[in-house]
């Protein structure tokens, strides 16, 4: 059946196949926080069924639920019927934007990336005291959060790369703009072109990204296919570092938070743990881990659009850190670090770092 909206053409069968069993309730971070079924994947699929039946329109009344999904894909992982709600929701958001219905925070993000080169709209790029745009074996691509919000973590990663004598260069990078695809817009071609030109000009065979989302974007989005066509390999820093033993250890109790973008979306669970196992014999898993890991609440535009809930979701994740008795939480995503740190209560004494940041700290302590 030909639908009125684009999402129907692609996903009509999937929406219909949702049997409303409700098993997604067990894992949805938004439902877990709000206990409001309209915000869960099942609720969203029911709403979309009514849209497809012509009972309701994709209008402003629906933004509160359709724009409030972190696209963490826990529901996809849990769904017995094989429905992939985040992919459907991303397509629906595009339909909504087409019709002039959008959350203002998401619109703002698109506007910022038309006028600026990063999601924060900052004009002065951070100087990481490293050479840029030179010929090198590797490009290290930092990402917006690492450049403008978690610059200490980035500095630590660069220190590690230096310590390992890796032949890398930074570039005058701009936002990969992959996130726009999640919030109803399309990747900004100008930005994509600029990143690709800069990467290819270095002659690097491999791009190491500090951000798992950038890695996903470069690897999976057709707008970046020129990289693959040129034989450039794109990996996340955790995949790169897993082969190095830096010879440092901690006796602290350490846990690991699987970022959705690296875990469920890229199936990378073991590499970060390999790194951590080497440095932290006292490793503990949180109750929800690997494919079942609870989202930090930052993804899918939710941090910008529904900040209060986003922080509250991060707080629920941190409760599991306490439950596990960890002194250090490591993760592989600057965005997760940022959101979790913002949510951390003063009474919570554990520390939150990226794995590389923690590694570098141990290196510095060891002198």
């Amino acid at each position: 059946m030909e639908g009125k909206y684009e999402f129907e053409k692609k996903f009509r069968d999937q929406v219909l196949r949702c049997s409303s069993c409700g098993f997604c309730r067990a894992v949805c971070p938004v439902l877990g926080l709000t206990k409001r079924p309209a915000l869960n994947a099942r609720g969203k699929m029911l709403i979309l069924k009514e849209v497809m039946d012509g009972n309701i329109e994709l209008n402003d009344e629906l933004t509160e639920t359709l724009f409030q999904c972190t696209t963490c894909a826990s529901c996809t992982n849990q769904c017995p019927s094989g429905v992939d709600p985040p992919e459907i929701i991303k397509e629906v958001r595009k339909d909504m934007v087409q019709r002039g219905t959008c959350h203002p925070a998401f619109e703002g993000m698109n506007r910022v990336l038309q006028e600026h080169t990063n999601i924060y709209g900052e004009d002065e790029p951070e100087d990481f005291e490293r050479e840029r745009n030179k010929k090198a074996e590797y490009v290290f691509f930092i990402g917006c959060v690492g450049s403008y919000r978690e610059d200490e973590a980035t500095m630590a990663t660069l220190d590690i790369l230096d310590h390992l004598k890796v032949d890398y260069t930074l570039i005058d990078e701009v936002c990969c703009s992959g996130a726009l695809e999640d919030v109803g817009f399309k990747i900004n071609q100008t930005l994509a072109r600029k990143n690709m030109d800069l990467i290819l000009a270095t002659g690097a065979r491999t791009v190491i990204t500090g951000c798992p989302y950038c890695s996903r974007t470069f690897n999976n989005k057709t707008q970046y296919s020129a990289l693959k066509d040129a034989g450039v390999n794109i990996i996340h820093i955790s995949q790169f570092l897993k082969d190095f033993d830096l010879g440092v250890k901690t006796d602290k109790v350490v846990t690991y938070h699987d970022p959705c973008d690296l875990g469920r979306h890229c199936n990378i669970y073991d590499e970060p743990r390999e790194i951590i196992h080497r440095i932290a014999p006292n490793f503990v898993e949180m109750r929800h881990n690997r494919a079942n890991a609870l989202c930090c609440g930052a993804g899918g535009g939710v941090r910008g659009a529904f900040a209060k809930n986003s922080i509250a979701m991060a707080r629920r994740r941190l409760e599991e850190v306490e439950e596990a008795g960890a002194e250090v939480v490591l993760t592989e995503c600057n965005s997760c670090v940022h959101n979790l740190n913002n949510a951390k209560l003063r009474a919570q004494k554990f520390k939150i770092f990226t794995s590389t940041q923690f590694l570098n700290q141990l290196l510095e302590e060891a002198g």
Binding site: L16, C21, G22, R25, A26, K35, P37, A38, I47, E64
Partner: protein, 459 residues
């Protein structure tokens, strides 16, 4: 709904716990059944007093109220068929007390089954009736449907564990039933009356459960049978052998074929597969029981028998049973997870009938079930947009339940009547029985405001 009613609801629960937004009304219009109807408003009460005030208001204004947990009902129990107010109990999710000395757990109705299980685990205890939706379903819902599960044959269903209830009646009064004692015959058993009453008599606001010590060891075996009759005989023989397996599950040929068509598991497409589990405190105990079961499998011509006591290897034997629902859910757009029970000795007859009915009406009905207590789940997979197929499904359903009753069975073992089984109530219950049920409903809810339209109680 009158705006003054909405205003009063807001005053009772606070505006943050009230909604009449379109998105909420749609989300509350359906449960895991195929029934759909929007409410007019929904509230998230946080205590018994609020629920009492809501019921007083609804009773006065004659507005339907539908209590709801996780909305995982497969029979439409949570669908607001006549509109009105959804009472979402999900925010009343506190485990009030775990008292191992008295073998008790006291919970609010919105506690999720898995959360209680997790809380009991460090004490070496568990709450045995384990529905397949255990990771999401709420205990209030389990009480309302008298939920069962895989462990039914040995451990019974929810009704065997509810000792006491706090219930808000349709007129707003707060009733306390039962006691914290393991034994009590003090007056009518009002507790049991509410268990399985599908939210038609009162709103359960606090539950006192008996909990069981959890045997730490398991043994598992799997057997395939060329004929349903052999499998059926094996089930009967096991159940009167003196051994009570903690699980005895059956997977039929349609399921095995469907699993093979959709996965690379390469299962033998025999007429029936049985999976048995025993539990106990020592390996000797579980193995003693399992050896007896395995010998019964072999005696009844099992074509293959696999037996594991290692936990991880045992998981592999459960694969077919555990993947059956997921596969059925992908076959087509719509599915009825049917629920029926027959006396244990009739399990093979019923499975044969299911297979014949499926063929006759050209309908897909892969079936799994809790063979150990005669409770079967044919999963009818169909395309709801195909009118001809829908008609065939309806005809097949009628024949299915006629056969159930003919075999001395019952319309539902653990999902309830709700909306889905109303057309069949007359097959199982005569006029006297229906008259008594309706009288009970009138006694508690003379204005018919609490989950109206369910269980075939309306004349």
């Amino acid at each position: 709904m009158d705006t003054t009613i909405k205003q009063t609801l807001m005053e009772i629960v606070g505006s943050e716990n009230f909604t009449d937004s379109l998105i909420d009304l749609i989300a509350y219009s359906k449960d895991a059944s195929e029934h759909r109807h929007r409410p007019d408003a929904a509230v998230w009460p946080v205590n018994t007093e609020q629920i009492s005030a809501i019921m007083k208001l609804a009773n006065r204004e004659k507005v339907p109220v539908v209590p709801r947990g996780a909305g995982t009902s497969l029979a439409g129990l949570a669908v607001p068929e006549q509109g009105g107010i959804i009472l979402d109990l999900g925010r009343m999710d506190k485990i009030i007390d775990i008292n191992i000395e008295d073998r008790l757990a006291v919970v609010q109705p919105g506690v999720i089954y898995a959360d209680l299980d997790r809380a009991l685990s460090p004490h070496g205890f568990f709450f045995p009736p384990d529905p397949a939706s255990g990771s999401v379903c709420t205990l209030g819902g389990n009480v309302a449907t008298n939920a069962g599960g895989i462990k039914g044959a040995k451990y019974g269903t929810t009704k065997d564990y509810v000792l006491a209830l706090e219930v808000v009646l349709p007129d707003g009064r707060i009733l306390h039933t039962g006691s914290k004692c393991m034994k009590s015959v003090s007056g009518y058993d009002l507790t049991r009356l509410f268990v399985g009453s599908e939210g038609t008599l009162g709103v359960v606001t606090e539950i006192t459960f008996k909990v069981n010590p959890k045997p730490p060891m398991n043994s598992t075996s799997m057997a395939t049978f060329e004929t349903l009759e052999d499998a059926g005989r094996a089930v009967s023989e096991i159940m009167y052998s003196g051994i009570l397996p903690s699980g005895l599950e059956i997977v039929d040929q349609q399921s095995l074929t469907a699993i093979n068509e959709n996965t690379d598991l390469g299962l033998p497409e025999v007429e029936a597969m049985l999976v048995a589990e025993t539990d106990g405190h020592t390996r000797e105990e579980t193995e003693f029981q399992m050896k007896k079961i395995v010998s019964i499998f072999k005696k009844n011509h099992a074509s293959t028998v696999k037996h594991e006591d290692d936990k991880e290897k045992a998981e592999a034997l459960w694969t077919a049973r555990k993947s059956a629902y997921g596969v059925a859910a992908r076959i087509n757009n719509n599915l009825f997870v049917e629920d029926l029970a027959v006396p244990m000795s009739k399990v093979p007859d019923m499975l044969r009938a299911i297979s014949d009915i499926a063929k006759k009406h050209d309908v897909k009905m892969p079936t799994v079930g809790h063979a150990g207590d005669g409770n079967l789940h044919p999963v009818i997979c169909f395309d709801g947009t195909n009118a001809d197929e829908v008609k065939r499904v309806e005809e097949a359903s009628v024949e299915l339940f006629e056969k159930v009753i003919e075999l001395g069975g019952t319309l539902t073992g653990e999902h309830g009547i709700g909306l889905a089984k109303i057309p069949f109530m007359g097959l199982e219950h005569d006029e006297i029985s229906m008259d008594i049920m309706r009288s009970i409903k009138r006694l508690f809810d003379p204005n018919n405001i609490l989950n109206p339209g369910k269980m075939g109680l309306e004349e």
